[in-house]
Symmetry: C2
């Protein structure tokens, strides 16, 4: 076989798989992107980025961290230049960032520094800085985490002592462990920051953590201001987050004017008296959960790459056509990959719904109505845990499904994983957040009384309506309501168990309860998505049917992953004949996978990733994976010299020593 | 609190935890290292490495891949210099490599090239090259995998055509996909290699893959020989395997003399007739499974680092002493970490037992006795899958248990993970190996007859004795035999199910069966370990009791992870009262964890890692984690300039643009 023919085979295999898909890809793409207009914006912006050499990704994997940081700053500068030139809206800037596809220092300015400042600064401060911040005339960061404390904000050690004489606050780091640590964009970039510090009032009164706006670096020299020690905290595991300069800061009795306290919700009088918050504060954490739970698109990348590659890779058994089977055709492969595809669709839709809820809550909060806060907090905590945990696993599962070549950096999944994996521990460690989910679930359970109107239960605890009577559980796994009811009933049973035996639980209970509650919520949401597919999605006929099947797969595999609970509570009982009672479900999963298999490439094409965006040799859109892998390897820096400098320095001495020991010389070989 | 006091607190916490442990650490250390003499050798060799600046690890995380490759070669050269100087045995050289703690190109020479050559080369070839290979006068690699094919050796495309006229083989790469790929040490280092190629005899007869010894590079210039194209395949995901030069090779009709065929097991006559193998070949794969299943020590590192750090980290609830609780004291933490500790102990012991079995098999094979081959193949396949899958998960679980700081490269767990994670897909993809385990299990099941003497069942299928009658399953989880029987009975039931319904399975069945069979085997082995603790381990009294409890924890958590099967087959039935039947097991796990918690630091100290070996700021042996993290960050290259060059180039232009847009100038701030 000549090279050209081989190339053709992979290309043909992918084209063939594409042609077998029955869905309307453009319609599905519009659905996933929230409409044609959004999609067109994305095509437009992403095209600008792909055609600008500043954003070239081909050498990214070969760069040192310092080079990645410098590249990150160059990219950022160019992005804003392009934004001005093309008059991009903030939304279009975000589309550009998503095409750039790597965490950047500027993200922290945009998602942490600016919103916190906007929501909590006084009108005076807003007047001085809001425009500058919006136009990036100053660059900021959000200084919360310390060496010694993360999510437990109440124990942060940095102090802000009010000095009535000068009407200033003195910001101070009293211990090594009070050093601000992990602060994105702080290490080498930010000029300003919002600092979480323990507010100390005259007489030593400690009123807990508050926020202070501070200048960190000189605006003409970029050097740290007096009393402030700044630096980068060093590389991250797996070489994730290479471009951002997560940094540290120590403050040595640094004074800031009184007006620098972000005082929309709490204030200090000139005399040093504390004025309590009027309204509930919009939780900063809550906003971030949304960000980290937007994992749907990360999973979508992994699904696209792995499904394309396992479609063109042939290995193992020889089929009736005389060719080895496509790797994706093996049950052990498609059973791993199709649920991942389903997660991507579900989480993308959930993310959009959540953003809508959040906007609604923010609007209500600004009028003093905090009624949605608790509900949204419960939901976002649970979703953050579930989506990040599942997403991390999915990206790695997709990578491993590609076998040996999946370990090449050119697979494109390594950096996605490395950048996504910290989402399990940052912005609320998943194991800590579990407790918040449980607290909310127990509260809802305990306030459920015979007089509760089940129609008024909020989405996070809709499942509690089943307390009125055990649902009749069908074994028809083709109907979405079946898996939904199993998952809801399991949530009821496990919350009940916890509530009745809270002091007598095992060590895994918290995690299991949190998972059960969140999965019941998601399942009900997925049920709604299926119901509204025909009316609201713009998908019609066959396309709607296929996406509905994909959603059903999500539901069935969620039940499958919940089988321990479901069996433990006798929700699914062993059959009389001693045969595995989970078998009908498992076979339904297999049958559904087989139905969806011909649609897989079409369903991933609908995500709409360009080759530039994916940056994966194994996932190239034309299927020519081996050629792309070969081409990428030729760029490896080690290949630029035929003989490595290490030969003279180390290898030759090694060989000569060995030949001396063996008593044979070079010339004899 | 001053810095000194804070430092003291973490140091005191670790010292306190250490003092609470009741085990005899030196005795446990000897046990894990296979005796005092081995341990002393390790201390000695590791000390030499730690004191030699060539092996300094402090800048490793800051290096580019090219620097890592060059460093790897320098390290290798120095290792052999030290070996000659200190007259180290091969075993001591391995101890030195383990202190170096990173994959190196030379590993491939030692574990693949040399053993394959030794076992399969003819006496003539051995006479010419064996000494040179042993003394590293030539450096080799093992060329099997190709771009288009991995584990399916029969489909490899590289050809070796016998030319009777010249008594040569012509090695050729006919297609792009036949390019040898992933070959460790090939890219820039090796002078020679053993090539897997399809042997073609006169008349076009294809007798399948065989091995050929080839020179790849010129011994005086190190350039690739004519007709051979060589290069490095580029970086790996997560920046794993940075130092080794996994490479590619293409052969353009390259001739090698007939004697270069490794002909111990199969030969070609001068006329081109094929002479079949006399003996079964010792599977190269089998040897490697052992290597990749030596994951016990990787898990041990992860356990040491995470247990130390979560002992000194205090966070969250304030206890009766007025201090926040140690993170390890939370059930959600110790429930994650103690089973990992147990895995490390179990896999280290299993690895030693397996090496003994392998040596025995190799000895028998050399006398023509292949009776152990099938059994060992079944066992190693299953163990490879289980230990690598569990190990990868454990390393990541340990890292995440450390919360935010676990994402710092200075946690020391990132590189362990990145270097261990390919073990799931290389040297037999785990999902492919599952099928081998199942094939062996079904064969054993089908050959079990009423006349089978159950005492003669090999270890891999001891569980089949239960086919003679269901065991009586106790609910006393304090006795090792209870969990062992549950796991064995589950293996029986699931193999039975598969055998009776092989054409009617779901997509997860293979994985579940393979897991069940291997876990039953391991459980029985762990049972033996517990029984012989007092007699053979050198551990006495309390120490033996504690290690036995750790082994029990392994057994109980394995049952816990197998609950879906156990419940599905009605092995554990729902209680009459509708309460969770898994609760007694789960509570036994929790109670056992609580018993083991005070022993955790002692049990990890017994692994005997030095700070140099661990190379982790969070896992330093004195507990001074925060100081170590601070110190490590100061070495970050970005911190060597107070103002980054990116300021002039990108940040300043960005700020000026923003100020122009906002209508405010620098001077006004």
């Amino acid at each position: 076989m000549s090279k050209a023919q081989v190339t053709t085979k992979q290309v043909l295999d992918l084209a063939d798989a594409r042609s077998k898909s029955t869905i309307d890809v453009p319609k599905a793409r519009d659905y996933l992107h929230g409409g044609t207009s959004n999609w067109n914006k994305r095509v437009n912006v992403s095209g600008v980025i792909a055609n600008d050499p500043t954003f070239d990704k081909s050498r990214r994997e070969f760069m040192s961290r310092t080079e990645r940081y410098e590249r990150g700053q160059k990219i950022t500068d160019r992005l804003f230049e392009l934004q001005e030139h093309h008059a991009w809206t903030p939304e279009e800037l975000n589309l550009a960032l998503s095409a750039v596809d790597e965490p950047l220092s500027i993200n922290l300015h945009m998602v942490a520094f600016e919103p916190v400042f906007r929501m909590q600064a006084s009108p005076t401060l807003l007047g001085k800085y809001a425009n500058l911040i919006a136009s990036r005339g100053i660059l900021g960061c959000y200084l919360q985490t310390e060496l010694g404390h993360g999510s437990n904000v109440s124990k942060l050690e940095t102090t802000a002592t009010f000095i009535p004489d000068t009407q200033e606050f003195e910001i101070h780091s009293p211990t090594l462990t009070s050093t601000k640590w992990w602060i994105g964009a702080l290490g080498k970039t930010s000029t300003h920051g919002v600092v979480q510090a323990k507010l100390l009032l005259p007489g030593g009164q400690d009123v807990g953590p508050h926020l202070f706006f501070m200048q960190l670096r000189d605006m003409s020299t970029h050097k740290p201001l007096p009393g402030i020690t700044l630096g980068d905290i060093g590389p991250k595991v797996l070489h994730g987050y290479q471009a951002p300069d997560n940094g540290f800061a120590r403050f040595d009795h640094v004074r800031v004017p009184k007006e620098n306290m972000l005082s929309k919700f709490a204030q200090v009088t000139d005399e040093g008296k504390y004025v309590k918050p009027l309204h509930a504060k919009l939780s900063y954490g809550g906003m971030l959960y949304i960000r980290s739970s937007s994992g749907g698109w990360a999973i979508a990348r992994a699904a696209t790459i792995s499904i394309r590659y396992t479609t063109v890779r042939r290995q193992g058994e020889v089929g009736s056509d005389g060719l080895e089977r496509q790797v994706i055709s093996y049950p052990s492969t498609y059973y791993r990959l199709l649920p991942i595809l389903a997660h991507a669709y579900v989480y993308i839709e959930l993310g959009r719904a959540l953003t809508r809820s959040f906007d609604e809550m923010a609007a209500r909060l600004s009028t003093g109505d905090a009624s949605l806060l608790a509900e949204l907090h419960a939901i976002t905590s649970g979703l953050k845990v579930t989506i990040t945990s599942v997403g991390i696993l999915d990206i790695e599962t997709a990578r491993r499904s590609m076998g040996g070549h999946g370990y090449s950096a050119f697979s494109g999944l390594g950096s996605i994983y490395a950048d996504y994996v910290p989402s399990a521990t940052y912005e609320g460690d998943n194991f800590v957040l579990d407790q918040q989910v449980i607290r909310a679930a127990l509260k809802a359970f305990r306030s459920f009384t015979p007089s509760t109107d089940v129609k008024l239960l909020p989405p996070s605890s809709t499942y509690l309506r089943l307390l009125r009577g055990q649902p009749s559980l069908s074994s028809d796994w083709s109907v979405p309501e079946t898996p939904i009811l199993y998952l809801e009933w399991r949530a009821v049973k496990i919350v009940q168990e916890l509530a009745h035996n809270a002091n007598d639980t095992d060590a895994s209970m918290n995690q299991r309860v949190s998972k059960a509650v969140t999965e019941a919520f998601i399942a009900r949401q997925v049920g709604e998505m299926i119901k509204t597919l025909n009316s609201k999605s713009g998908l019609k006929g066959r396309s709607a049917v296929v996406v509905a099947k994909l959603y059903l797969l999500h539901l069935l595999t969620t039940v499958e992953s919940a089988l321990v609970d479901i069996l433990s509570f006798g929700i699914l009982a062993p059959s009389e004949q001693g045969r595995d009672p989970t078998l009908t479900l498992r076979k339904a999963v297999k049958a559904l996978c087989e139905e969806l298999l011909p649609e897989a490439v079409g369903l991933t094409d609908a995500f709409g990733f360009t080759d530039f965006e994916l940056n994966s040799a194994l996932g190239v859109s034309d299927g020519n994976a081996y050629q792309a892998l070969w081409d990428a390897a030729q760029m490896e820096p080690l290949n630029q010299d035929e003989v490595t400098p290490a030969y003279r320095e180390s290898i030759r001495p090694m060989l000569l020593r060995g030949q001396r020991i063996a008593g044979k010389t070079l010339s004899k070989l």
